[in-house]
Subunit: 272 residues, 2 copies
């Protein structure tokens, strides 16, 4: 049955460009009791990418709304960890794709329980058949234009936890909802920021931690063979809600799993 | 001022994937009094592309909703021409990008007055600096993922009517909201369907009319030089609301303007 929403009824947001064109951004922020360890990184990214899209956001207004949300929704979740989702849209109106000069942004605030967390022993991962295409102007931006990720995720069947996407050049770039770090004989590698559809907050955290820990690290294009070949000493997925997730099997191939990356980098990991 | 929408208030559509990910499609249908000349083509495209995205739509339900909208909104607009916009989303819910198996679509119905129509003497057009990227899986689909077109349209300054977008290969593919037809010594050319971000309903109509009129026509990749060079005998933009729009000036170069294409192809053009 098709559910109908009439534009002239009260309960719609007529002309919100976020619905019309995916003209906006989002953040999914893990809240652990009364603290959100990566909150500043999430707000940094939201402000930076709003700037790239020409959406005028005020950081103090944003922080105030978030503080309000942490109280309002925190009261519902109590001591449980939960997820705060922010959706910022450019607002309403304008002549078609072209925004009005005085357009003013909307902020939607959602909350949900934590998704099931993957085991520390690692997850099963495969390759997606959906190609990843990244507009250079929009690289790394967690915009509302996520149809490619939807089409890739539709193909996922339990127990597969994630599908890795490759670009037209054949490089393995990222998962549908994760970034990736490869461990090899000469240290850690992750695909370059400019190649990414989404430049993760957890990815930023992991890079900072690796550098602070003196681990060899570089941004580098990765081929399928790098992940499946003998020199692969481990593959790790990152996501700001799930943390650092080891891959124990990739496309049928068992991979070594260690806990070093999670130990030095995962802000959600309870200390032993 | 940031306008806030709380997910637990009544007036939001929590979890509509159209807002969250641009997970849906739209059609903008011109209604001329009590008839919509291209309605069948719009519904054909909506049904075909919903199928490509795996969104289960029933054509009878869709037609029934449209008929209802024509009455409901037609009563508001009277004899004036107006625009009916349909937005179909995959619905709500699911685990992140991955839709739930029982997800059920939403249809939003909007109406608006006609935009200002361009003069028959033609319009001024330029090239966009925003590259066009098209995922082969999604080529031609008028999905809600339109952030590239928004970013291109932001650069438009009156009196420029349209900006033409090129892809990574340097081919001129389409305008932000139009397809294009080039007239040359050996007939009509338009970029191939597989290269398009949006495969227009008016584009389909024009191709059918050209073929029916026995005009030489082929799908062909176009370079900037094809449009600006000596062999260009005219450039025409197509859009199902605006019809066939001649380009009188492209990036500072005057182009010849004829009325043949509009005469044989434009369903909105009043007969002389």
């Amino acid at each position: 049955m098709l559910k109908l929403y009439w534009a002239d009824d009260d309960c719609l947001l007529p002309g919100d460009r976020g619905l019309a064109y995916g003209d906006g951004l989002f953040e999914t922020i893990r809240v652990n009791g009364d603290s959100a360890p990566l909150l500043v990184y999430h707000l940094d990214r939201l402000m930076r990418d709003a700037g790239r899209l020409g959406i005028r956001l005020s950081r103090p207004e944003l922080e105030s709304a978030v503080a309000h949300a942490m109280k309002r929704y925190g009261a519902i979740h109590g001591i449980s960890h939960w997820v705060l989702k922010l959706v910022v849209t450019r607002g309403s109106g304008g002549r078609g794709y072209r925004p009005a000069a005085d357009v003013s942004p909307h902020l939607y605030l959602f909350h949900s329980v934590l998704p099931p967390l993957p085991p520390e022993t690692g997850v099963m991962v495969d390759f997606s058949r959906v190609p990843l295409t990244v507009n250079p102007l929009l690289s790394g931006i967690k915009s509302l234009n996520r149809l490619e990720q939807v089409m890739a995720a539709r193909e996922m069947k339990d127990p597969t936890f994630e599908l890795l996407m490759t670009n037209a050049a054949g490089h393995v770039v990222e998962g549908t909802r994760t970034n990736l770090f490869l461990h090899g004989p000469d240290g850690w590698r992750t695909p370059p920021a400019a190649s990414l559809a989404v430049s993760g907050v957890m990815r930023r955290k992991v890079i900072e931690c690796l550098l602070a820990a003196g681990e060899p690290f570089r941004e580098c294009e990765l081929q399928v063979e790098d992940l499946l070949g003998r020199e692969c000493q481990g593959l790790y997925l990152t996501n700001s809600v799930l943390g650092v997730v080891p891959v124990r099997n990739l496309a049928g191939l068992d991979l070594p799993v260690g806990n070093r990356l999670a130990t030095i980098c995962d802000p959600h990991k309870r200390p032993d």
